[in-house]
Point group: C2
Chain length 141, copies 2
């Protein structure tokens, strides 16, 4: 993929501190990201086979962890007309860091509803988001 903007989506393994009564799993320290200040944390839930697409953040860097179920994330580079697909389940202990200015969508892949935790550096605002309809970017979900 070389210099594709899609390479800026980073897959980070979460550090697990094991303990007999239950582990501790580190999601994110402020120092892990440059020029990132916490503004908001929220969950997005997604039902089985349902799709939320497409969104494009002008400023927000997302930090995504699947806390329940399994989710397929699709990232799209318009300039390259190229997709990147990353599927994550709750067992994977992975954080996706997604910089702004990348089109993305996601689909619920487990029969029970899936939940995504998002830690962001901008408060949710419709002025900061571009949207387009699912069919306006052709992807074979």
């Amino acid at each position: 993929m070389g210099k594709s903007i899609l390479n800026k989506v980073k897959i980070n393994s979460l550090k697990i501190i094991r303990s007999p009564n239950g582990n501790v799993i580190r999601i994110l320290r402020k120092q892990d990201l440059k020029n990132w200040n916490f503004k908001e944390a929220y969950f997005s839930t997604i039902k089985f086979n349902k799709i939320k697409a497409w969104k494009f953040h002008l400023k927000m860097t997302l930090n995504l962890v699947v806390t329940k179920g399994k989710v397929k994330f699709v990232f799209y580079s318009k300039n390259e007309d190229r997709f990147r697909v990353i599927e994550i389940g709750e067992k994977k202990n992975i954080r996706l860091s997604v910089p702004p200015r990348i089109w993305f969508g996601f689909e619920g892949m487990s029969k029970k509803e899936s939940t995504i935790l998002n830690l962001t550096n901008f408060q949710h605002s419709s002025r900061e988001i571009l949207r387009c309809k699912k069919n306006n970017i052709k992807f074979n979900w």
Copy 2:
């Protein structure tokens, strides 16, 4: 409970933004807390009927959300020799904000392992935590 320090543990209902494909649930905005700056996010897992107790943070304000299962939190005021018990399941959509200088412990209450999300304003450090053994504070778990 009047002026008990235990009243400083705040129970906040999370705001739910409903949507047909899956809801959005707001956990925390920076502006919701005074003098609080994000430093670290982590999950703590706790097995069924297992107990992690007791801890006392000198500086850290905890923001706790149960993302899986059900957890009993117990807070203890040494000065008053008084307990406060708060049980939360993943369905409750509640955030506990716990200021520093309160002894606390927690127990896993669901047969599957439970998971707690914690958003904190200090990085984990043993120098910032006092600990005592479970039996040193008498509580009927």
